[in-house]
Each structure stands twice: as structure tokens, then as C-alpha cells.
């Protein structure tokens, strides 16, 4: 199987996994992981293994998410929830600056406190891919985003191979999952059955190998490794949603006037949920606020979205005033111009925008509609919409 040679893998019992959190704490990490809150599996600080969503899973379809009980005690038996690690690496609201005026002098106050060193527990393959996309966007150029950089640096990543998929997942189309490939310190595969609950663990970095040595005593036997691989294969075969990405750039660039954009605009609420939940969407706006005395000011950075009117506001008005132009901008950027700009797709196939769209708009379906009608019009001897 890809990358992971059997010899590198060790086996952890449930008790040994408990130690993982302790070991990470001892190394000075704040551990962020999955937990059940407000009817969903969200990411927040976890102190012990019992904080994890043992025995819970998520049921997802377009515009719908429900927590469900599993008939086992799996810790990672859910897929992806409403939040992504962007919550920590590229936060929704962050204060960039504060200033005070004393008479004629202006004092810039010491800004952000340094974020804690964090370990992420339970990062999925598509999420690793999303982090890599944001790394490219926010760190990979001449202009590095210092807010992101300070949070990203020194993150310890415990990834999890998916052993089940949701109907909204399409990582296989985007080449990002369900097996993690790189960008992690440790990767777990959970094996849970009537009389066992164990984890195959592989190290992806020196730091990961050190932690792993502190935890595990046993190497994973070959049959256990095979079971782990089979479980991930099963997840892959569960994935039914597809996005055909063949020449997707050309497809979308040659279809700016496709009638499908009007069709989706009738359904789209321009509410921006898709962009907020997307683990790669990175746009922000900056707001300056001052107090009434004019002696204190703050500058905040907040998540923004191409679905707002203000986003494309230039002198005289909003360039993208219609919902149609906003949805088209979002999807065309995500799937096509992102490739020109950053050398990869902006979509990792996590399916969040599908589940969390209040009206269940499905990006894979929108691509299909454009592709199918374009192919048929080509067949009838006429190219562009």
C-alpha cells in the first residue's frame, strides 16, 4: 500500500491511546480534537480520551446533518463536521491591532498574544489536503500571512484514516483521500470490533516517531495491518459521489454564460455558508473600529465571502451584484482559476459545502449539469453554451 511500509507500523490499545493525549500535554501541546456539541461533532480542546465522540457518527446528505448512535464504541467513527481546522489556523475573527491616542501621540498596543502550541487530533485526509492548500495560499508566496504562520508553525498533527465515508464525500475524485499520504506526524487507523478496539499507528515525521515510541510497545502484525488497509479500502468503496475534473478549467472558462448559472442562482441564498465551512476558503475583510472619544481604535480581521455584496464593492457599487455572478465566481475560482493561481484545485472533496448549504446545493451536481449539457451540445456540433 502507498507509502506506508508495514514495518513502520505499530499497534496501540485504547489505553495506550489515552496516553497519547498525556504525552502531547507533557510536550507542551494544547490538544484539539473532536467532541459532541450542539448536535454535531465539532473541534475543540480535549483533555482526555473520554471527551471524544465514542459511539457517535454523523449522517449527511445535501443540506442535512444528523448525529446518530453507532453500535460500537468507535472514537473516529464519524466523517467530517461543520468545522474544520481552519477554525484554529485561520480564525473567523482576529484582532490585528489596537491603538491608543494620548494627546498628540499614538501608541500601538502590543497585539496578539502568541497562540498556544497545538496538537490536532483526528485530522482526515481531505483536511490534510485542505491545510496544504491553505499553506500554499497563505505561506507559499512572497507575502506570508503572519497570523496563519504563527498558528501553523509547530502544529503536531495526528491524522486518522477514514474507515467509513459519508454520502457527501468525494475525496476520491479530488485525489485527496480517504488514506492520508503526507503532512502528518502520526496517522491512526481505528480497528473496532466486538472484542477488540485498537489502533494501527504510523509515524510521518521524526517528532511523530518519538511520540509513537513513547506509546507503543508492539509492532502491528501483518494481518492487523491488512485489516487496517481493508477498512480504509472499504471507506473508499463507499464513496459514490463523483466530480469529473477532466479539463475542468477549460470547461468552466468556456461556460461563463451557461444557463445553469441562472438555475443555481434561483436556489442559492447568497448566505455564504458554503464559503465559511469550506476548509480552503481563505478570504477575509478588515474592519477598523474606534470608540466615541476617538482615543481608542482596533483593527479586526474577519472571515469574508465572495457571496457578499461588499466583497466586490468598488467605487460606485458591487461588481457582482447578482447571486448568479457570485455563485459562478465562487465555483469557478474554487475549481478552475485556483489552478492558475495556486497550482492545484481549491476543492479537496470534503463535502462540507454540500451538507451545510441550507438549501442543499451540491457543487458536484452543478459541475455535472454544466458538463453534460456542454458535451451534448458539442455532440450536436456546437461547442460553447
Amino acid at each position: 500500500m502507498d507509502g506506508a511500509s508495514v514495518a513502520e507500523r505499530s499497534l496501540l490499545t485504547l489505553q495506550q491511546l489515552e496516553h497519547l493525549i498525556l504525552v502531547l500535554h507533557r510536550r507542551g501541546y494544547e490538544v484539539i480534537g473532536p467532541l459532541v456539541r450542539d448536535g454535531a461533532i465539532v473541534y475543540d480542546v480535549v483533555d482526555r480520551l473520554s471527551d471524544l465522540p465514542a459511539g457517535w457518527t454523523d449522517e449527511q446528505e445535501a443540506g442535512r446533518y444528523r448525529l446518530q448512535r453507532r453500535n460500537d464504541g468507535a472514537l473516529f467513527g464519524y466523517v467530517v463536521g461543520p468545522q474544520s481546522w481552519k477554525k484554529y489556523l485561520h480564525p473567523g475573527e482576529v484582532r490585528l491591532l489596537a491603538a491608543e491616542r494620548h494627546g498628540q501621540t499614538l501608541r500601538i498596543l502590543n497585539n496578539e498574544t502568541t497562540p498556544p502550541r497545538r496538537a490536532f487530533l483526528g485530522v482526515r485526509a481531505c483536511e490534510l489536503a485542505a491545510i496544504a492548500v491553505q499553506d500554499r495560499v497563505l505561506l507559499g508566496d512572497r507575502y506570508r500571512d503572519s497570523v496563519y504562520a504563527s498558528r501553523r508553525e509547530g502544529i503536531f498533527i495526528v491524522a486518522v484514516n477514514c474507515t467509513q465515508a459519508a454520502p457527501t464525500c468525494f475525496c476520491t475524485s479530488m485525489g485527496t483521500g480517504p488514506r492520508v499520504r503526507s503532512g502528518y506526524d502520526l496517522a491512526l487507523t481505528e480497528l473496532v470490533g466486538p472484542d477488540k478496539h485498537e489502533f494501527v499507528v504510523e509515524a510521518g515525521s521524526e517528532a511523530g516517531a518519538e511520540v509513537s515510541r513513547e506509546l507503543a510497545r508492539a509492532t502491528a502484525a501483518e494481518d492487523v495491518c491488512q485489516q487496517a488497509d481493508a477498512a480504509v479500502e472499504r471507506a473508499a468503496s463507499q464513496i459514490k459521489r463523483r466530480m469529473d475534473t477532466t479539463n475542468i478549467r477549460e470547461l468552466l472558462y468556456s461556460n461563463f454564460d451557461h444557463p445553469r448559472w441562472d438555475n443555481v442562482a434561483q436556489r442559492c441564498l447568497t448566505c455564504a455558508n458554503c464559503t465559511m465551512v469550506c476548509p480552503t476558503c481563505f478570504c477575509t475583510t478588515v474592519e477598523d473600529v474606534s470608540d466615541i472619544t476617538g482615543t481608542h481604535a482596533q483593527r479586526w480581521r474577519k472571515w469574508d465571502s465572495c457571496f457578499t455584496q461588499n466583497f466586490s464593492y468598488i467605487h460606485g457599487g458591487s461588481v457582482r451584484s447578482s447571486g448568479k455572478s457570485r455563485y459562478r465566481q465562487w465555483m469557478t475560482h474554487k475549481l478552475a482559476s485556483w489552478i492558475d493561481q495556486f497550482g492545484s484545485s481549491g476543492c479537496v472533496g470534503c463535502g462540507r459545502c454540500i451538507s451545510w448549504c441550507p438549501v442543499g446545493i451540491d457543487i458536484t451536481e452543478e459541475v455535472r449539469a454544466i458538463r453534460e449539457s456542454t458535451t451534448s451540445s458539442k455532440e450536436s456540433g456546437h461547442g460553447n453554451s
Binding site: 441564498l269 455564504a272 466615541i292 441550507p358
Partner: protein, 262 residues
């Protein structure tokens, strides 16, 4: 240099048909109230002070909707007195909850409710201030958010653009890391078509948005109504959902009338 002491700008607060809740938001801004009093001459604010200085005023805050002949006259005079006229709240901006009468027979109400109907003189409609006079800014909400009010006053004083978003409540929810109750629980929520400003108050407490801040910048009420039907809401439920504090805002009005006809 002039030796004249620079006069502090005058601010005035006027009330029309309303519950006073929005004015109270100003009094409720305890931390900032002294600063407001320091920066302005609170020239006319009957709810707070018996001092009543004559205009003109730099800022006039208007609460309430127009429901009587007398008020329709009064708002004209007030407009002349105020350099910047700012409406505060759903009543002043959209006609308020009392605009529910706009779909009913007001004369019948008067006959049924009042012992001596001939003493009652009222208009058939409850209408927002902007239907009567030009307005410089409309601050949304039922009631308004005191932080937004202070931001608006501060920005007006500083001559800068206020940070008052017109996008959906959903953006506030997501920035707060709220789990969407519409998607995760099937709760009908007006958040996607409602303007931000409350800090996503109701969804943060597991309730669907009631639309207190009125229609957002590009509300697709038709699509949300279809989704409400998927969430098992009847046409009557949908009509009721849009007939809240901002029932008379045209986008919500259209949505409620469409579901009523459906």
C-alpha cells in the same frame, strides 16, 4: 484662531409608534453613555431627560413608525431640524410589528377595540419613516443592537463609514463557530435571508432566527420558503415566519403574500 468655544454637536431622539425598546438600547449602553454625553449635547431625549433644547440637531435618531396624520406631519418638521436623520429599529425602518394591520381592516379593529371609536384617528397603514422623508441611515433590529448604535453614532461623529454589515446572519453564526441549527436539527431559520447585526443571538441559543434585522442585501426568500416546505412547514407557517417585526419590508412582504396565496 477663533476664540469661540466649539459647540458640541446636538443629538435628539424622537419617538413615533413604537415600544421604546430601541431608545432604551441607548440608555442601556451604560459603558458608553457617559462618553456619548461627553461628545454630544443630548438636546432632546424625553425618555431620559426633561431638558428640551430646540433644534437644529446634528443627529436625529427616530424610533417608531408613522401611524397617524399627526405623526406624518411631525416627521416632516423633524426632518427639517436634523442634519443627519437616522431611523432606529424595525418600526422606523420597516413599519414594525404594528404593520400587521396593513393586511387587515383597521376600521373594524377600531370598532371592536375602542369604546368610543370616534375619538380614534389613525392611518390605515403603519409605514416606515423613509416612506415619508429622506433618511440618512436606517439602523435595523428589533430592538437595535446597542453596539451597532454606538458604532453608528461614533462613525457619524468621526465622519467615517460605519461597520454595519448587510450580509446574512449565517456569517455571524459561522464566525462564532455555531453549529447550523437548520442543517443539524431541521429548525426553520430565517438567518440566510436576514441581515446580520444581532451577533446571531437566537441561533446561538438553539432557536431559529426570527428575522428581527430585516431582509439582508440579496434575500432569496423564494428558495428559503421552498426549503421550509421540505422542513415540513405549512404555507401558513411560512406566512407567519415572514410576518414578524419586519413584515412590511418589501422582500418579506412579498414572501408572506406568496405563501399566503400558495
Amino acid at each position: 484662531m477663533s476664540s469661540r468655544v466649539k459647540r458640541k454637536p446636538r443629538i435628539a431622539v424622537f419617538k413615533f409608534a413604537s415600544c421604546d425598546g430601541c431608545q432604551l438600547s441607548l440608555l442601556d449602553a451604560e459603558d458608553e453613555l457617559l462618553a456619548v454625553a461627553g461628545a454630544f449635547d443630548i438636546a432632546y431625549f424625553p425618555e431620559a431627560s426633561s431638558t428640551m433644547l430646540r433644534g437644529p440637531y446634528e443627529i436625529g435618531l427616530v424610533e417608531g413608525s408613522i401611524t397617524t396624520y399627526h405623526d406624518a406631519q411631525r416627521i416632516q418638521e423633524i426632518r427639517h431640524q436634523c442634519k443627519s436623520l437616522i431611523t432606529i429599529g424595525a418600526c422606523a425602518t420597516a413599519g414594525g410589528i404594528q404593520a400587521l394591520r396593513n393586511w387587515k381592516d383597521v376600521d373594524e379593529f377600531i370598532r371592536v377595540v375602542y369604546a368610543t371609536p370616534r375619538y380614534i384617528e389613525t392611518l390605515k397603514l403603519s409605514t416606515p419613516i423613509a416612506e415619508h422623508v429622506p433618511v440618512n441611515f436606517e439602523l435595523r433590529g428589533c430592538p437595535i443592537n446597542k453596539h451597532q448604535l454606538i458604532e453608528l453614532i461614533t462613525a457619524t461623529l468621526a465622519g467615517r463609514k460605519p461597520n454595519l454589515p448587510t450580509y446574512s446572519v449565517c456569517i455571524e453564526c459561522k464566525r462564532k463557530s455555531n453549529v447550523c441549527i437548520a442543517v443539524a436539527q431541521g429548525v426553520p431559520c430565517l438567518g440566510p435571508v436576514t441581515q446580520a447585526g444581532c451577533g446571531a443571538l437566537c441561533p446561538s441559543f438553539n432557536r431559529g432566527c426570527y428575522g428581527c434585522y430585516g431582509p439582508m442585501e440579496s434575500p432569496n426568500t423564494e428558495s428559503l420558503s421552498s426549503q421550509f416546505r421540505i422542513l415540513d412547514q405549512s404555507n401558513a407557517d411560512i406566512t407567519r415566519a415572514f410576518r414578524g417585526f419586519n413584515a412590511w419590508a418589501w422582500q418579506f412582504r412579498k414572501a408572506s403574500e406568496e405563501s399566503e396565496r400558495a
